[in-house]
Point group: C2
Chain length 481, copies 2
């Protein structure tokens, strides 16, 4: 993957510059940081150990927060009988065109074909109808970690796979207010992890009717801007009201012994977030990971490791730093190769330690984000590391925030928006009348979609930027992955 030059400095081979070809830069990182390998089925990707380790970090952050707020993990089957998928009309219309169908078990043709879950609302509803009888059975706050299948035409690692890993929350509540509150509360958990662990600033808002989930009353979203100015919808939460409950007959007896329909929510984030991390923080040397997320926070690289005492010292250092996630690379590769390797993998900090450092009671600390080198006295190493890791975490967030601010515009006409997006893609704020006709026209003319109606509304104009009619909402528009 990497050649080294005489001075052992980084010399990365064959990674495309992001300014030259952002899409190729992205897939280069995905391959060279050993996150993903392609499988024999197009659009189904192999998550290699390092890619999966990042997912495990993301999972553990979310899972702890879900459990702390009373949610329980479950596992539902991957197969949905065709008749079950068809119970909620809008829902089946949204998903049927892109599901994979199982028609045979062994040598026998099935009497009813089954799809591999594209999402599991129908299965959860079917179960809820079985197990919910009384108000005592509510709320049900369920979540599952699994994979789903969507047979899409065009695919990209992490961003759009025919099979991908995700979590899907499914909840049932006694009242409409509780279901809505759940959708909003989970959005807060999502954005907490996204901003404070993944270092990605979010815009929270509501999807327009056109963009909402198939079968939902309202869909809430958090949108991120990638380094190239394109948008990423990183996760969504849905309030279903009692729509699914009516389709599936999910009723409970309340305290007055009256029968009522439950109100429901669902919500999900996926491995797509890893694509977001790459495109938010990565640079021309590879991946850059925020320290709170990084599976390896510190790579220790021994210098002149064949000299007596160096490897032992490095091992002692690793032991000493066991409060951090540390990898000591004592392989027979050269230091220069190792520098490139851990830069490519986005490890936030590198420690270089050689015979002279040991003699001087110091080591060299190198930041991945700025490449800044500092000589640190070993006595104050833990403090220096802790401070630097926190500093990197903040710096990455601030850099991403600045990129978003630099690339956020206001448009007062469709032509203005088109020019903004053609010349330097980003988020465009514009007032909207609320009509589907205008939303469609924006897509046609400016090839942009409504990202969301942000919770934080501003009045950036007096009339709909598209038709000139009465302005209802300020909307964030953009081109999205």
């Amino acid at each position: 993957m990497a050649k080294e030059n005489a001075k052992g400095q980084k010399f990365v081979e064959a990674i495309t510059d992001m300014e030259v070809d952002f899409a190729k830069w992205y897939t280069d990182i995905v391959k060279k940081a050993e996150l993903i390998d392609y499988s024999g089925v197009r659009g189904c990707f192999i998550l290699r150990p390092y890619g999966y380790a990042i997912w495990e970090q993301i999972k553990s952050e979310f899972d702890a927060r879900f459990k702390a707020t009373g949610h329980e993990n479950v596992y539902f089957p991957m197969f949905i009988p065709e008749s079950l998928l068809q119970k909620e009309k809008d829902h089946v219309e949204g998903f049927a065109p892109e599901v994979a169908w199982v028609t045979h078990g062994g040598d026998e043709e099935l009497t009813e074909r089954m799809c591999v879950r594209p999402t599991s609302e129908t299965l959860f509803c079917d179960h809820f109808a079985n197990v919910i009888q009384s108000h005592r059975d509510l709320p049900k706050l369920y979540n599952q970690w699994c994979s789903v299948v969507r047979w899409e035409k065009s695919t990209r690692p992490f961003l759009r796979g025919r099979e991908f890993l995700w979590q899907e929350g499914h909840t049932a509540h006694a009242t409409a207010e509780e279901a809505l509150q759940e959708a909003l509360d989970i959005l807060e958990i999502y954005t907490d992890v996204c901003e404070n662990i993944l270092g990605m600033p979010v815009i929270k808002g509501k999807k327009t009717d056109k963009e909402k989930f198939a079968g939902a009353k309202e869909t809430y979203t958090f949108e991120n801007m990638m380094h190239d100015g394109q948008a990423l919808q990183s996760g969504t939460t849905h309030n279903f009201g009692d729509g699914f409950a009516r389709a599936f007959g999910i009723q409970y007896t309340d305290k007055e012994n009256k029968l009522s329909y439950v109100h429901q929510s669902s919500w999900g984030i996926s491995t797509r977030l890893i694509g977001g991390i790459i495109m938010t923080h990565g640079d021309n040397s590879g991946l850059v990971l925020p320290p709170r997320l990084a599976p390896i926070q510190i790579a220790i690289i021994p210098i002149a490791q064949h000299k007596e005492g160096v490897l032992d010292f490095a091992r002692g250092l690793k032991e000493r730093l066991s409060n951090f996630r540390v990898k000591l690379d004592d392989s027979d590769r050269s230091p220069g190769w190792k520098f490139s390797e851990y830069e490519m993998k986005g490890v936030p900090l590198r420690i270089e330690i050689g015979p002279k450092d040991i003699e001087a009671g110091q080591c060299v600390l190198v930041r991945r984000d700025t490449r800044e080198k500092t000589i640190i006295a070993l006595g104050s190493l833990e403090t220096a590391i802790a401070e630097t890791l926190e500093d990197i975490q903040k710096a990455l967030f601030n850099k991403a925030l600045k990129n978003r601010e630099d690339r956020t515009y206001v448009a007062h006409s469709l032509e203005e928006m088109k020019e903004q997006l053609d010349t330097k893609p980003g988020f465009v704020k514009a007032m909207w009348c609320g009509e589907l006709a205008c939303e469609n026209k924006v897509k046609e003319v400016a090839t942009a979609t409504s990202r969301c109606i942000p919770f934080e509304q501003e009045r950036v104009g007096e009339t709909c930027f598209c038709c000139g009619g009465e302005a209802k909402h300020m909307v964030i528009w953009g081109r999205a992955y």
Copy 2:
């Protein structure tokens, strides 16, 4: 699920006695302890929160041990193209009859149908051939947690599902010795968790050629005896030698720059273990969980909770016991209902605390396994709990071990074995000549299969108990789930 009588004692409704109908007793527990619900697809079961929580406990025990021994988690796609499945001859013969086939993506028929993985050797081999070039790339020690699909005719919750959760390890090594050692090392990890966490005594051994995994050189197994004397094959590890490597062309250059085939292993345990736990420890009041495994170790039941101070005191107790996994049930159900509920769920310890206890500075501790009640001074509560939990853990193991010893026989003839298994099923030790003909005859006449050739060999006879020929191994035979 449970009615209460006037004295608030347990009164479980509709759970079949295990002595009356062991199979029905089993499914009663599975339903009434809320481990599983049936889904719309026969043989595909829903793991409800309590069932999944047990699986999460099992997972975390194994996962920690895999990682501590250098294994890395990955995720491979669920779909295997038909041509890939067919690359290793024995393997495809073993699995093709029971796979589910995907033939359509959306409206389009696929050019090549794909099966949903019944196991992933072929996918891992395909990837290994891509990423292994040099001895530096070895060993590869991979594991994944996922579900697999086997379209079986008859199914039972946990024991035999058309879809079930498991882990599958897949490793590649430079030498034959290393691959064999891996299969043996993992068997030790499996039996460690099985005996010391799940409280289930194991017999370790090698499968006969007839019973080994499709494509394996050797299969190692750990076998458990259930309460009714039937055997459960709880997990297996396989040494593949270089068979798959030759079929898939997985070669590496060694230190002398010579091309060699890798040697491989694979290994798996599944949610089947939960079935084993039920049938090893359960009784006529429901599930019994070993304390080290139990998602809830202690249920706190307030008595007369409407009286002032009781609930506050109970909450304080829960707080105080945060080193244990504690559930306080402050719902408006009666104490009697709660007693039955947590007995059904197999919670190892119950604490009863009421106004009189609070006044006297004590509480009542009730063991799930023996139902023994003890009054404990609150001052020594933590010590008493820790000791009792350890005592339950040991008692459950010893009880299961005694059952196995009581039900282990020696047979010198096929007729003797048949009578033993017909009258009181168990394990039968008998000497075997090593011939398939005898193994088939045992199955035909005594409807028993070879469970394993145990590592701990004894000489329980002079000749093969079936044909009278030269005895090669002592084999454990039994009827299995």
